[in-house]
């Protein structure tokens, strides 16, 4: 104790020195408090107060982030708790922008439902958690962030609980999520046992892993992957996602399918970049496991999507399939070369948001999300379905959309690795990745098939929220433009 006290002031200096780099997150925390207060006291006078505060906070946070991004800040703060680098900054920007769009989406879609102030607050903490996730390399910090994100997500899914499906989805989500978190925690405890250190990129941490006994570290790593897998919903931890995506309100599904994945992918790529740099039992094991998981995830996601009748459920499987592609990218991620990954993440976010906006727009007209009910609607709202089809094409990964460029870049990365290492696993990844693109055509094209190729059956009013449709169309346009001129975005990262 006494040995410790002389350093306290310098420690506190370091804390204070870290704070300026923490501005974006601090803004989020303050906005969170502001949103709570607004929802408690102000929303009854003007029901858009909390919304306005949230938007303002997100924008402000975005401004700080932009500043960080432009000045290429690279720093370590809070005693190694956070590592800010351009990768994390860009990822946080994508997260913030997506959250911004989703906030608007929520506001537009649910303005007549229950008071939304609390939801914005929860959304903000989720964003905070995600931001931290992209920056931290400390298991404690990571676990807290993951839990923050998870619990916010549970609350968001159950927020409206206006029908059976929503509450069922929320319950399944929370139980499944907590179990995975508990398993991950067990894995973390083992990792801690191997190394006595919580920083995954620390030298001693890796040294501890290197000498760890094989059986136990295999268990630990797989338990760790359980927690990450739950967030990313890759095989075999994907089973919750179709139910939850289908049951949750569409806006929340949009969020779940898009934003958390960005942060977790960033985390996983940093982790793998740190660990796979050495070649020992644990890293080979991990690489092998990830390859197998990626392959099965792509296959399972796409195959299971084939038989789906519900658009949201289908999109859940589709996002599982995309997770497989993302895992490919993560596997070959190397330090300081984040732009391919970021490009795909950005595109992925754009595509998902657009798709869910379209699904939602149709849902608000039709009252359900069954693909069957889209029959013949292509003629009645051609603009919407044309844009929808374009986005689906991007999801398949066909030119001239950005989805294609993203896939191409990832394939390129993997191919390059393959060329260097001649590993069969990477080749298998490539082949399966290509194959599943073909399979994905089947189910994605069910939607245009029903909309354009079949004849109309029911009544359809065709009215839609102009702002949301505008956002959807903007995303679509971006998807096409970025497909033609990807360097605009790529060079920005």
């Amino acid at each position: 104790m006494l040995a410790f006290s002389p350093y306290i002031s310098s420690l506190i200096d370091q804390i204070i020195g870290s704070i300026p780099y923490f501005k974006p997150e601090l803004t989020l925390i303050i906005t969170f408090i502001g949103a709570i207060i607004a929802s408690l006291f102000c929303d009854r006078y003007w029901d858009k107060t909390s919304f306005t505060i949230t938007i303002a906070g997100l924008l402000l946070s975005g401004c700080y982030l932009l500043g960080q991004g432009l000045s290429h800040v690279e720093m370590v703060g809070f005693f190694d708790m956070i590592h800010i680098d351009t990768f994390a900054t860009s990822a946080r920007l994508i997260i913030l922008l997506s959250t911004l769009l989703i906030t608007i989406f929520i506001q537009q879609r649910h303005q007549h439902d229950r008071p939304l102030g609390d939801l914005y607050a929860v959304l903000l903490t989720a964003t905070l958690g995600l931001n931290l996730l992209t920056m931290s390399s400390n298991w404690l910090m990571i676990f807290i962030s993951v839990e923050t994100v998870s619990i916010s997500s549970y609350i968001m899914v159950g927020y409206f609980s206006s029908n059976k499906a929503q509450s069922e989805a929320a319950m399944k989500y929370v139980l499944f999520g907590s179990i995975c978190a508990a398993v991950m925690l067990y894995g973390l405890s083992l990792l801690y046992g191997f190394t006595g250190n919580l920083n995954f990129d620390a030298q001693s941490h890796i040294a501890g892993l290197v000498e760890a006994p094989k059986l136990m570290i295999s268990i630990a790593l797989l338990f760790l992957l359980t927690g990450i897998g739950f967030k990313l919903s890759f095989f075999p931890f994907h089973v919750w996602s179709p139910d939850v995506y289908q049951g949750a309100p569409t806006v929340i599904t949009t969020y779940l399918a898009t934003v958390p994945k960005i942060a977790v992918v960033v985390l996983l790529s940093k982790l793998l970049a740190a660990w796979l740099a050495v070649s020992f039992y644990f890293s080979d094991f991990l690489a092998y496991a990830i390859i197998i998981i990626a392959i099965t995830t792509m296959l399972i996601g796409n195959l299971a999507a084939l038989r789906q009748q519900d658009a949201k459920r289908m999109m859940a499987y589709s996002s599982i399939g995309h997770t497989g592609i993302l895992l490919m990218a993560v596997l070959v991620y190397q330090n300081n070369e984040s732009n391919v990954l970021l490009f795909y993440l950005a595109i992925y976010a754009l595509m998902n948001i657009a798709v869910f906006i379209f699904i939602d727009s149709l849902e608000s007209n039709l009252g359900n999300t069954s693909i069957e009910s889209y029959k013949g609607l292509g003629k009645q709202s051609p603009v919407l379905f044309t844009a929808f089809s374009i986005v689906l094409i991007a999801l398949i990964g066909l030119p001239p959309t950005a989805g294609f460029v993203g896939k191409l870049l990832i394939f390129s990365k993997v191919f390059e690795q393959y060329q260097n290492f001649q590993s069969f696993g990477l080749l298998a990844l490539l082949i399966v990745g290509a194959l599943t693109s073909v399979i994905s055509l089947f189910y994605y094209f069910k939607i245009p098939l029903n909309a354009f190729l079949k004849d109309s059956v029911g009544q359809y009013t065709g009215k839609s929220n102009p702002l949301l449709l505008g956002i959807g169309l903007l995303c679509t346009l971006l998807v096409v433009l970025l497909g033609l001129f990807p360097d605009v975005l790529l060079s920005a990262f």
Binding site: I151, A165, E168, A170, V174, I179, Y186, S189, G193, D243
Partner: protein, 102 residues
């Protein structure tokens, strides 16, 4: 002499019992209990290892955070389970299966 192995074996047992609970009990509350058992097993690991980490106290602090997080998760989880109960009048997870591949 209580060695590390003692702790590890106990925690492995508790973890597996938790897992079993989670997998087999037909009551959502019991599943939450199972989760808590698993978390407790992890905490036991943490404190057991934390004994050798006097510098940063990583184990014990992690354990403390884990307890807090688990408590919060249980609160939210219970709220959601009760929500389901309002709609379904049951909390048997087997009967809450409206959402599935049709």
């Amino acid at each position: 002499m209580i060695t590390l192995t003692h702790f590890l074996v106990v925690s492995a047992c508790i973890f597996c019992i938790g897992l079993y609970t989670v997998l087999s009990k037909k009551n959502a509350i019991m599943i939450l209990v199972g989760i808590e058992l698993m978390i407790n097993a992890s905490i036991l690991n943490f404190v057991a290892f934390g004994k050798y980490d006097k510098v940063s106290y990583g184990g014990q602090i992690f354990a403390l955070f884990a307890i807090v997080l688990a408590a919060a998760a249980v609160a939210v989880g219970l709220a959601l389970v009760l929500n389901v109960y309002r709609h379904y009048k049951t909390i048997n997870p087997d009967q809450i299966n409206e959402l599935k591949d049709k």
